[in-house]
């Protein structure tokens, strides 16, 4: 009897130990590595700019951007949710039709998006994303030939929708990820002076009516981005094309900016691993896009 009891206790202990061991394994299996995808790109192309506060004429020239993009699967549900952070600095240089006046556009934008990811069972190489984003944008348009109205400030905060698709394939032995992404603000606020209001009046303290609610009817923007990520060893070469369409109308002032740019840059995926924990060879790696 006593031996039987000891045997049962040993058995229970071994079962408990086995369950505990399985439990630890399952915890580690459900905590995958989530590498950060960081991309640094530059864009160069054409710009078509019009701002009727500064001039009724359409200006055309070139547009350049520097971009930083960071994507990472979310810890709470890495298979389904992806975060995207974007930072863009833009410079436009455009001329009037007579080419005797130059307009410069200087702009920066910070955006953050939360995207739901869908993997298509019938097409495992394809991932679809949809979600929302918020963005803050600031800058100025400068037309220095104008005396009292040489600049138009740019300021906006918006929320909107974003969709994207990524497709992984191989061209010969080179892994390639194709992506198309589009985003459009749906609501927000943006800055504009009144029809003929000088900034001097704002400087004097008249701040009424400068901030306007934005919706696609008065603040339309559609940013398109198509990229091909060529996986060259540990580094990714990113080639792409961006087309940004912007048009706003408020207080009788129409502002328009249409830009086409070719994009070139590098992207890397990286992980932060604590020294004490080491690398778990059994942990899954869930990339934000690849």
């Amino acid at each position: 009897m006593r031996n039987a009891i000891i045997a049962i206790l040993l058995m229970l202990a071994s079962v408990h130990a086995a369950l505990a061991s399985e439990c630890v394994d399952s915890v580690e299996m459900t905590k995958p590595y989530r590498p950060v995808l960081s991309a640094y790109t530059a864009g160069l192309g054409s710009a078509h700019v019009c701002n009727t506060y500064l001039t009724p004429l359409h200006y055309s020239g070139w547009s350049a951007t520097l971009n930083y993009e960071r994507m990472q699967a979310m810890g709470f549900d890495p298979e389904r949710w992806v975060m995207q952070l974007g930072l863009q600095a833009k410079f436009d240089d455009a001329h009037n039709p007579a080419r005797n006046a130059t307009m410069w556009g200087i702009e920066a934008e910070l955006s953050w998006a939360m995207l739901r990811r869908h993997r298509i069972n019938s097409c495992p190489r394809l991932q679809l994303y949809w979600g929302g984003f918020t963005a803050a944008r600031g800058g100025t348009l400068l037309l220095m030939r104008n005396g009292n109205n040489p600049a138009q400030a740019i300021g906006a905060w918006s929320m909107g929708a974003e969709v994207a698709a990524a497709y992984n394939l191989k061209i010969k032995r080179l892994p390639v990820t194709l992506r198309y992404q589009a985003r459009m603000p749906l609501a927000g606020v943006f800055f504009s002076p009144d029809y003929g209001e000088l900034y001097y009046e704002i400087f004097l303290g008249n701040h009424s009516g400068l901030v306007h609610a934005a919706w696609p009817g008065n603040y339309f923007r559609l940013d398109n981005l198509a990229t091909a990520d060529l996986h060259l060893g540990n580094t990714v070469l990113r080639l792409g094309y961006a087309c940004d369409v912007f048009s706003s109308k408020v207080s009788g002032i129409v502002s328009r900016n249409i830009a086409h740019r070719f994009v070139l840059g590098v992207a890397v995926e990286w992980l932060t691993i604590g020294r004490s924990r080491g690398i778990d060879p059994h942990a899954r790696i869930i990339s934000a896009m690849y």
């Binding site: 019009c50 009727t52 001039t55 009724p56 004429l57 359409h58 009037n96 039709p97 007579a98 080419r99 005797n100 006046a101 030939r145 104008n146 005396g147 009292n148 109205n149 040489p150 009144d194 029809y195 003929g196 209001e197 000088l198 001097y200 009046e201 004097l204 303290g205 008249n206 696609p216 339309f220 559609l222 087309c243 369409v245 048009s247 706003s248 109308k249 207080s251 009788g252 129409v254 328009r256 249409i258």
Partner: protein
């Protein structure tokens, strides 16, 4: 879809008629004094458009027709600028006596010996009256120059100063503000500003009151001031006079100022010529529009006598100095 979502922007075309129509429409939608000037802009369009000759018109001839149409507005703030010419309405001063001779002042009153910093010249005259000339508002006046000049007047115990803004064609309102803030002791309502809210001739915002604060931490002059003006005192200098006129212990001596109380707005036409026009009316603190100028104080309208000028007498400045002397007597009695 994206392109069709863009908001409509009027397309302006080149050629004589395209550029002419663009110029007419830009002014039609932004100029602010059609009623004050009693201008029938539609009639002007028809009259000057009929002068266009697409077959044999030189560029300079076309420019002159456009410039002549703009002159209908009788406004010194309206210009058409090309690479070869700038149209300019001059009658706001050319139809009147100049009433100013800089050499006369420099030679017979300042003895070619005065302090100068940028547009500011100053000297204590022999009879302990401070003289300050501000030649333009187009460049800033340094706080240092204003501090030193006012300190010099105070050290000489000047009871009154004379500020000469004759031939000051204006410039920046911020320079006007810098100057006015040396002559006030409390936050002061100095005027109202309005702007176009749409393309209609009568679409204006509610006039917005604006205030200037005393230049704290700097020398200020709160004793009497005599301001000397002529028809070429224009734009930001006109605003300076319109503001100072309503301060206590300030007299305006000379001729009516040139006006120019509409803050200009710039635009351009397809051929690349720049156009500038009055777009934002500025009123004084009593809601008077000073587009046609500021009159001298009652009894203080004086002209420069050319014969006496030949003898070294600036009759306007003489009047101002006499007024200052009277004030000095009053001040000493106090």
């Amino acid at each position: 879809m994206a392109m069709s979502s863009c908001h409509k922007v009027e397309e302006y075309h080149g050629g004589l008629y395209g550029n002419f129509d663009a110029l007419w429409k830009i002014v039609d939608e932004h100029y602010c004094f059609f009623d004050e000037k009693n201008v029938d802009w539609n009639e002007a369009r028809e009259r000057y458009r009929a002068m266009l000759d697409p077959e044999g018109m030189e560029t300079t001839e076309f420019f002159n027709v456009c410039g002549a149409m703009l002159s209908e507005l009788q406004d010194g703030h309206v210009n058409l600028s090309s690479s070869f010419n700038t149209s300019y309405y001059r009658k706001w001063w050319s139809d009147y006596r100049q009433n100013f001779d800089l050499r006369l002042v420099q030679e017979y009153y300042l003895d070619f010996d005065y302090s100068q910093s940028g547009p500011l010249s100053y000297k204590v005259l022999n009879d302990s009256i401070g003289y300050m000339r501000v030649s333009t508002m187009a460049s800033g006046i340094t706080h240092g120059a204003l501090d030193v000049s006012i300190l010099e007047f105070a050290d000489a115990d000047c009871p009154v100063i004379v500020i000469d803004v004759r031939d000051n064609g204006g410039g920046m309102m911020t320079t006007t503000q810098t100057l006015v803030e040396r002559f006030i002791n409390t936050r002061t309502l100095v005027g109202y500003i309005s702007h176009k809210t749409g393309p209609g001739h009568n679409e204006f915002s509610e006039p917005y009151p604006f205030y200037y604060d005393p230049a704290t931490g700097h020398m200020r002059w709160l004793r009497p001031v005599v301001i000397v003006t002529n028809r070429s005192t224009f734009s930001a200098a006109n605003s300076f006079v319109s503001i100072m006129r309503l301060l206590p212990n300030v007299r305006i001596v000379g001729d009516t100022t040139g006006g120019g109380s509409g803050m200009p707005f710039s635009s351009e036409i397809p051929c690349g010529w720049a156009v500038r026009m009055s777009a934002c009316p500025v009123y004084d603190a009593e809601m008077n529009l000073t587009e046609h100028g500021v009159d001298p104080s009652p009894g203080c309208r004086v002209n420069l006598d050319p014969e006496l000028a030949l003898q070294g007498k600036d009759t306007i400045l003489e009047f101002a100095l006499a007024l200052a002397s009277d004030w000095r007597s009053w001040y000493k009695k106090q």
